[in-house]
Symmetry: D2
Subunit: 250 residues, 4 copies
């Protein structure tokens, strides 16, 4: 795979992992190593299972870049403040912007997200913006200066995969920044499909951390992302209604 | 991945390739190597693009086991005769049984297939039976002594993927022999899904040989099969209607 | 809707109802009337909820033609015998042929079904053949002289709808006799889709009889079949990737 | 069907038609009559095929209520002005709010739509708001005082049906105002599904006006909406993995 460039960062892995949902630090470590990830997101306002600062030390030890996120924020103001605290504490200008509208859907609030994105870009952050799969909003977030736009496949934690591949294709076809499929991934074929649709990377958390065997699922996701990336570039065969023999009669 | 045992044969790759549709021998060689396949099927009655016996020499050189197939046969009698000629000429008791009902669908003829399977098993062949996705016929073929049952995802050459995952799940849930997804694969996520549904392996030809870049698509399929195999074993998260946060509020 | 001709029978309703699953005769009567059906199938070997001969009297009173079926039979011989007993007792040469392979899937046994069809046609029956959605077997049943071929949408009682629309389209595109979608219908849109795919009629039982409100669901199915029939003939608009304004700018 | 109440308006038909795309006034008239619609939307800024004021006279003659729309507007300001001109000219306070972000997708601009909705509600309009299928924005539009929220199934004119049924279900499950499926409908089963998902009505234009036979497709859509409405209320059977006989063995 080619390196993925987001802002000034270069990644050879196209799988971004979230730490939420892991049973403990040992499980998380094995999963992160298996995934091959080089970028991992941690909620600044949530108590991850592993608790305290252990997860930050773990990422440092594994030499995985930290992508702080603002999950749990409800307004632009909260998200901006959370991002600023994260930058100060963690010495990174990377921020995954998440502004959730409510607890039942955890869907992004489109207006607060856009407003926060504008303010964070103006404040010098490299913004990864979590968004719904609306092609209009995706373009607005790119125009606002986001380094990556991260449409969901389905609501967080549902494992429903990519509910609307057509929207992801529309987003990709008009984007100039990397599109990262974020949220909704349930299993490996979802990740493969995301890459085949043209996404530049996949972000997932509980699909790995809450699988029966997180380490093995992390390995699966690593291969799945690679498979989809390669397939996208290989130029698939067209779909046909009638059969076609693979070789003509002798 | 664990080794796949079919009859008396042991395979560490779960990707079986068909040679039909390759532009020439060089392209085919690169694709086969990239795929990591250890078992490749060649039509005894079809003129493969590469012509003549070149493909057989190629497989020998690459140390890939040959799985002759009876594509192009319309009756049990034709298929049995073709299999016997293949065994004699190629010194293998492996046979991929294909009895096509007609040229427009290339769908297997269920009655002729079952009859041919019974006769070939009685004649000492290790039979890989290409079949539709009917769970009843799949069980009959297993009972007839086939070493592997190979339901289609969609008609040959359509690239439509797995049209009926429910049937594949029904087949897998009752099978005691390996189920190999055969025909219909269009891109990597199709192969990943096949393995997630519980198939033991995937067989494909033109999805690789007719891709814009066959070598790259072969690499993609290799990763895709691995991803699906690992994900199946890793125990995916359940699907939910409402969202669920990956970590509880702090 | 045009009349539907099956064998020598003419039907103005394209909704065929099965009586199985009804809570009692009153519920069944209201559902049958609401459905507008003119042809209703009764299992000769099963104890319908309404018990005894009540259902036959009900059909007579409602002037609904009876289509006896062989549900519960496991072999061609059983099915032929059941059909002959039905003809004698009920004075109809109509028979819905069902040979179930096993209890968990209730899927039709393809070989026994085909053999029974041949024998019943030779014996003068007007045969409605319940079959899987295999386009090859559908054609064989037509060639055997069946008056109608009845592929399933999904296994009986699953309510999964039409699992493989592609197969139904393949069957319809090659058929010269009416294709009736049988089994798997769960709700109205499934019936509409069946007709849009080109089926001539829809047969369903528990989608109506086990709905919370069977009479209302019967009305829904009546409209659903009509909607799909009309839409098929109306020539739908093509699908597009990009939007298209309904009217040009002024 | 129960009457549908939107704002102060009562409708016995749950099919709202758009006039765009009709070949001429005669075709449009036959389609409108066949559809049974009582509410029809006309673009204030677009040249409908029928031209000039003919369509308005036609609606008056057929006693169909007019729902002016703001299609073609790009900003909240344009939409508000267009709505005000429509109110003055047509003596109706109904307005279908559409603010399209661009010509290729014709997707609604979420921010401009919400702003326009707030201003129109404050100005005394009964607002039908065309929106994407984002459950968060749908709730915001309801909170802004819209009388009906109209999520799309797919982009205008694509005929792709309902790309994301999960989102429509999420929207319906939290709504207190009628949800009207708007845009994307291609054929009858799409309309049936919309109603089964819990929508209160369906709005469509070119699925009827550009069908090969618009009058017949209008009839189909009328039945399709009725079917879906009835089925929703009838309480469908659950989906099962394994089969279930409709009646127990005798």
């Amino acid at each position: 795979m080619d390196d993925l460039i987001i802002g000034e960062h270069k990644l050879s892995s196209r799988l971004i992992i979230g730490t939420g949902g892991a049973a403990n630090l040992e499980v998380l470590e094995r999963a992160l190593v298996a995934s091959g990830t080089q970028l991992t997101t941690v909620a600044m306002r949530r108590a991850d299972a592993e608790g305290g600062s252990g997860v930050l030390e773990l990422l440092r030890r594994l030499d995985i870049e930290l992508l702080p996120n603002t999950a749990g924020c409800r307004t632009a103001a909260e998200a901006v403040l959370t991002a600023q605290l994260a930058r100060e504490a963690l010495e990174t200008n990377l921020i995954k912007l998440e502004v959730h509208a409510d607890d039942r859907t955890l869907l992004p609030d489109p207006l607060e997200t856009l407003e926060a994105a504008e303010r964070l870009v103006a404040d010098g952050f490299t913004v990864f913006a979590y968004t719904n799969d609306d092609p209009v909003l995706a373009l607005r977030l790119e125009e606002a200066g986001c380094a990556a736009v991260m449409p969901l496949g389905a609501p967080i934690g549902t494992g429903l995969g990519i509910r609307n591949p057509h929207n992801i294709e529309l987003i990709v076809s008009r984007a100039s920044v990397p599109i990262v499929l974020d949220a909704g991934i349930g299993t490996a074929s979802d990740a493969t499909l995301a890459m085949e649709l043209g996404c530049s990377a996949v972000l997932l958390s509980t699909a790995v951390t809450r699988a029966a065997d997180p380490e093995r699922m992390a390995l699966a996701m690593r291969s799945a992302v690679e498979a989809g990336y390669l397939a996208r570039g290989a130029g698939r065969v067209p779909q046909r209604f009638w059969a076609q023999a693979s070789s003509p009669p002798r």
